[in-house]
């Protein structure tokens, strides 16, 4: 089910602005890959190029290759909608649908695509997804209430539940825990551990401990200099990255002696 992702010589643009340059990496199937790096170095941008969400922004484009299980994502005959169905995404900011209840939000991926399902089946998906996102006990008595009525952290977990409800093969998470308390964070990390038996997971985080805890491999992005495009400095197994990284600047960043 899970898929590996091969990226070669990827340049990512916003109009004429080159945001990320020359990325090469292989993301293993059924593993957790973490991206770390200073703010503005292009982690989100790169992550969004993995499921063709980048091109949603007017003028945004990509040069280079992204191969998912041997299939090139940016071939002209590839349907971005089909790509996104298999590669789900959790955003940096929680974004539940304001017109939908908690229940409908979890099912949004199915409902928006007019997938027919029985009530029992839908209930089942909602419960298991919410349990997976560690939100079930908090909301099980008010599934009919609007999703916007939840706290910021609860909204983020609702978005995670919504993303796993469609059972994507790859899950991209952009700082999913930046709005969460330690308990929910550890629940999400447990969830990531569980999910990795079936899914390929890519996570962006500013939390070094989190990267060390959850990921198998880590990529460090950085800016060459202010105004220059971001690039991938080092990509290694997490163990090696945090013990003795190949690159000096990686070590400086991880140990907090940055800049």
């Amino acid at each position: 089910m899970a898929k590996s992702i091969d990226v070669s010589e990827l340049d990512i643009y916003y109009g004429d602005f080159l945001a990320v340059q020359g990325v090469n990496m292989t993301i293993q199937a059924k593993s957790v890959t973490a991206f770390i790096g200073p703010s503005g170095c292009g982690k989100s941008t790169f992550l969004r190029s993995l499921n063709r969400m980048h091109e949603v922004i007017p003028g945004a484009r990509v040069e280079g290759k992204v191969m998912v299980d041997g299939q090139s994502l940016y071939e002209p005959n590839v349907d971005p909608v089909a790509v996104r169905r298999q590669i789900g995404m959790v955003f940096q900011r929680p974004n539940p649908f304001p017109t939908m209840s908690i229940y409908e939000n979890v099912l949004a991926g199915n409902r928006l695509n007019a997938k027919k399902m029985k009530k029992a089946e839908a209930d089942e998906i909602v419960e298991s997804s919410l349990r997976g996102a560690n939100l079930w006990t908090e909301v099980k008595d008010r599934l009919g209430r609007p999703g916007m009525g939840l706290s910021g952290g609860q909204q983020q977990r609702l978005c995670i539940a919504r993303a796993i409800a469609v059972q994507p093969e790859v899950l991209l998470m952009d700082e999913p825990c930046s709005a969460l308390d330690p308990i929910s964070t550890s629940a999400i990390e447990d969830l990531i551990h569980e999910l990795k038996t079936e899914y390929t997971i890519v996570i962006v985080t500013h939390n070094m401990q989190q990267a060390a805890r959850v990921s198998d491999e880590t990529g460090f992005f950085n800016l060459k200099a202010a105004g220059e495009p971001g690039h991938l400095v080092e990509f290694n197994s997490t163990q090696k990255m945090f013990a003795n990284p190949d690159n000096e600047s990686t070590e400086a960043y991880i140990s907090g002696r940055f800049g």
Partner: protein
């Protein structure tokens, strides 16, 4: 650096946290005094009520500001002055509205009775009562047709502008044309419809649908503009959330963007309807004038409420005036109902926050 940090800030004790406050009843007292003082002018110089009110307001604002400046701080004096000015402006804005409503209600109410609303102006004998049933129906039919033409065109145009056009040439051209259309005088819209229908169906063709076409020329730009505003209010985060779940663009638009902005769009459409329902000039040209009830917009003359009001004023006898005022009241009530409906619908479909 360290030296300034270790010495306690010398100024801290000189910044007072409290200052004098005028008592709660101060504005009331100033108002009474101002009215009384200004009352000397009508008493001594024989001024009317309007100058009295104006002088009172000036006294009030000046007095309260001065008093606040003496007792309170400069900032709260300015605050009190600007607050009073804003309230004054608000009251001035209300004057024409209230006086208009008062005139229409007081003059129109006596004309309204059951026959007024259920009979047409067509009489077979002189003792038959006259009513505006034909004009009410004409207004409803023509406005409905205009809405049926304008709403889809307007909403689809707005969807194109916001979701697909995003600043390309065609979109900028459309935006420009919509702006131009907003400024078209209604009589020109009427002439356009008139000449168009003359071209297609020969000279002298008159019907309700022609009026609806003319009105939709006026309504489309309003619908486009208001819908566009509403669609732009939908955050991109929501579109991206839907895309990331593998939702095609058209479903994202129908089920997320339109659904989220539905309340605002319906409100806009209702207000646009209220705006065109009072149009007179284009309908005089193309829909004609009749005293009979005609429910078929594709055949024959059709009279609407504003056109009926106009024709009654043309006739000029007191009885005709009474009918006209009654009709005006009915029209105002319809517009009022539309506005209330817009608010209610907007509330119902607004996204719920649940807090």
């Amino acid at each position: 650096m360290t030296a300034t940090l270790t010495t306690p800030p010398a100024t801290s004790s000189t910044i007072p946290l409290t200052h004098g406050r005028l008592p709660r009843w101060a504005p009331g007292l100033v108002a009474v005094v101002a009215i009384a003082a200004a009352g000397l002018f009508p008493l001594l110089l024989g001024w009317g009520v309007v100058p009295w009110v104006i002088v009172s307001v000036i006294f009030y604002i000046g007095g309260l500001t001065l008093w606040a400046a003496v007792v309170e701080t400069r900032r709260s004096a300015v605050d009190r002055m600007v607050t009073s000015l804003v309230w004054t402006a608000f009251a001035i804005a209300l004057v024409p509205l209230v006086s208009l409503l008062w005139t229409v209600i007081s003059k129109g109410l006596p004309a309204i009775n059951s026959t007024f609303l259920t009979y047409s102006a067509f009489r077979t004998s002189l003792d038959q009562p006259v009513g505006i049933y034909h004009a009410i129906m004409g207004t409803l039919v023509i406005t409905f047709c205009a809405a049926v033409i304008s709403v889809p065109i307007g909403i689809f145009a707005a969807i194109y502008l916001v979701e697909y056009g995003k600043g390309n040439r065609l979109a900028r051209g459309i935006t420009f044309l919509v702006d131009v259309m907003t400024g078209i005088p209604s009589i020109v819209a009427g002439l356009f419809a008139f000449s168009m229908f003359t071209l297609f169906f020969g000279a002298g063709y008159r019907s309700g649908i022609g009026g609806a076409v003319a009105l939709s020329l006026l309504m489309i730009p309003i619908v486009v503009r208001s819908t566009e505003e509403m669609l732009r209010l939908v955050p991109d985060d929501l579109r991206e959330a839907a895309y990331a779940l593998g939702t095609p663009k058209w479903r994202t638009i129908t089920k997320v963007v339109l659904r989220t902005s539905l309340g605002g769009i319906i409100t806009g459409v209702t207000l646009a309807t209220a705006r065109i329902i009072g149009e007179t000039a284009p309908l005089l040209l193309i829909a004609g004038l009749t005293t009979r009830t005609n429910m078929n917009p594709f055949d024959g003359f059709m009279t609407t409420l504003p056109v009926f009001i106009y024709s009654q004023f043309q006739k000029g006898t007191p009885a005709d005036f009474d009918l006209a005022w009654g009709t005006a009241l009915v029209l105002v009530v319809i517009v009022l109902l539309l506005n209330i409906a817009a608010r209610v619908i907007g509330k119902i479909f607004a996204p719920k926050t649940g807090r």
